[in-house]
């Protein structure tokens, strides 16, 4: 599959959005879906539906096999050592809550410290904040530098003898900084510290190799990977998933239930209580195949070209101020426009069919640091082209015209 023709695989680009062709620059929020993924959901519901892992009838066995196939595909895609290290969740948010919860139950003690960064999305801060209340855990923040990065040196500086967990983003959803997580993990492990990665922005755009990264947990959002909503993946090292207690109780996660004792199921069932997002899991296999067909190296090259082009374009546009200039940058272009509030920018761009996000992007700590309440963010995916970024720039110029800016 050639990346140049990829837009054709996404039916939404055949639609007119308020009489405009869609220029979709909000993939860091959620990506559009290729036809194969949408079709797979429909096919499963109309021709193959059954719950998984319980009944012995034909459909149940077939659905269970499909469901487990996706687990194997994910394992392969992220190069995890063991299939049972892949846990399906309702999203990356749940994946991070799961990790914080089980570490809080049975790993962290009062007075222990967790190190996060000023770049973190609220999903990688609030779940740890819960432990502040319940376990008297302290949270420290590694600071973002002027380029919108958090460096290895800064992480090292903020580690104390009490640091037990480092929870960091792989790729900032605001500045686009790609963090040196392999180096951070090496450093952390040398001090006996666990590493949890928020991979929401990393997984759709970067080559993943869990055995090489060696992190202890990695959270993935499937709807940002051209997959269905309502689904996330938690990668966790087998050792931890075996040792730590379950997160939620219910059907499917147990081994034996008696009036006076309960034993829990083996991995991965232990962490998948209740009926899971079966259709989404099965359709997610198509998302992975789709990305594999294009090739992650090609995706990375394509998106790096786009970011470079977009950065140059916006840098040349006076009045536009880009947020963050990290040396290693992913497909995110956050900016402010002098004298124009991001919500006004987003409304005006929307009128031209250019879909971006305005707000704090669930990163209030980061925006407080920059001393701005909000920013505008254009983010790219595999279907974007340089033409899309030209249209973004034209629409920003239209915005300047309305606000009488030069």
């Amino acid at each position: 599959m050639k990346i140049e023709n990829i837009k054709k695989e996404f039916p939404i680009f055949d639609e007119k959005i308020q009489n405009n062709d869609l220029v979709y620059l909000d993939s860091a929020n959620s990506s559009q879906k290729p036809k194969v993924v949408a079709d797979r959901i429909n096919e499963f519901y109309t021709k193959q539906f059954s719950n998984v892992g319980r009944s012995v009838h034909y459909l149940a066995v077939a659905a269970t096999n499909l469901y487990e196939n996706t687990r194997s595909s994910v394992q392969k895609y992220i190069n995890a050592k063991d299939k049972n290290e892949i846990v399906f969740t309702k999203g990356a948010t749940e994946a991070l809550n799961l990790v914080a919860n089980i570490l809080g139950q049975n790993y962290l003690n009062e007075g222990d410290e967790i190190l996060i960064t000023e770049l973190e999305h609220h999903s990688n801060y609030v779940p740890w904040h819960f432990l502040r209340k319940s376990k008297n855990i302290k949270i420290n923040f590694a600071e973002m530098n002027e380029d919108g990065e958090v460096t290895l040196e800064e992480i090292e500086k903020k580690i104390t003898p009490k640091t037990k967990v480092i929870a960091i983003t792989h790729l900032s959803n605001v500045t686009g900084a790609i963090l040196p997580i392999k180096e951070i993990t090496d450093l952390a492990h040398s001090k006996g510290i666990l590493v949890v990665i928020d991979g929401c922005q990393g997984a759709p755009h970067l080559k993943l190799n869990m055995q090489d990264l060696d992190c202890d947990f990695y959270a993935i959002s499937c709807h940002k990977m051209y997959g269905p909503t309502g689904l996330g993946v938690l990668y966790g090292k087998k050792k931890w998933l075996e040792e730590l207690p379950p997160y939620q109780g219910g059907g499917g996660m147990i081994s034996e239930v008696k009036k006076d004792s309960i034993s829990y199921g083996e991995l991965p069932n232990k962490y998948e209580a209740g009926t899971m997002a079966t259709a989404q899991v099965i359709a997610f296999d198509e998302s992975i195949k789709f990305m594999e067909n294009i090739g992650i190296e090609n995706i990375m090259k394509h998106e790096a070209d786009l970011v470079e082009y977009g950065q140059e374009l916006l840098q040349k546009n006076n009045s536009v101020k880009l947020i963050g200039s990290p040396k290693n940058k992913g497909g995110v272009l956050s900016f402010t426009l002098k004298g124009v509030h991001p919500h006004d920018i987003a409304t005006i761009l929307d009128e031209d069919g250019v879909a971006i996000r305005a707000g704090h992007h669930c990163c209030q700590i980061l925006h407080d640091k920059l001393n701005i309440p909000a920013s505008a963010r254009a983010s790219v995916g595999i279907y974007n082209t340089k033409d899309d970024l030209d249209k973004l720039n034209d629409s920003i110029n239209n915005c300047k015209k309305i606000f009488n800016l030069k």
Partner: protein, 154 residues
């Protein structure tokens, strides 16, 4: 939808140079409004005299052009009105932003109505109505001297 209707010259002008911006010296009532998701915030200060007439009104805050212009125009119109008149004007404005094609209040002069109708373009942008109404709800809260923050999100 029509952007020109939303971003009229008068809105841009008020958004850029808001009237009555700052903290009134001797206010006796105030309230805060905050829409954390979009980052608009406003603090309305009132100086009400013994006859419950708004002798002075001002606001502090930051936000989009719509929210700033709306607060600016509001403070201009409310100054000199008594509490009941002001509350009726607020109600009239909120109804207009929601559904009414025009303003009805007898406490507004024709030129004041014309100015306020500049905000009617917001109707076509449901996501932005909360920006236009934040300062108005905060004004009502200021009359009551309420301590909890007003929100128009959700």
């Amino acid at each position: 939808m029509n952007l020109k209707e939303l971003y009229q010259e008068i809105i841009l002008e008020h958004g850029k140079n808001p009237r009555n911006l700052g903290k009134t010296d001797d206010f006796n009532k105030d309230a805060k409004g905050n829409n954390p998701l979009c980052g608009d915030n406003v603090h309305v200060y009132l100086k009400l005299n013994g006859q419950k007439i708004v002798e002075d009104i001002s606001f502090e805050g930051s936000g989009c052009a719509i929210s700033m212009a709306s607060a600016s125009i509001m403070t201009d119109l409310i100054k000199g009105k008594n509490e009941n008149e002001a509350k009726e004007i607020v109600e009239d404005f909120l109804q207009m932003i929601k559904e009414n094609p025009e303003l009805k209040s007898e406490y507004l002069q024709d030129d004041e109505k014309t100015k306020l109708m500049c905000l009617s373009g917001v109707k076509q942008y449901p996501m932005r109505v909360k920006c236009a109404t934040l300062s108005w709800h905060t004004l009502v809260s200021a009359f009551e001297n309420k301590k909890e923050e007003v929100k128009t999100e959700n």
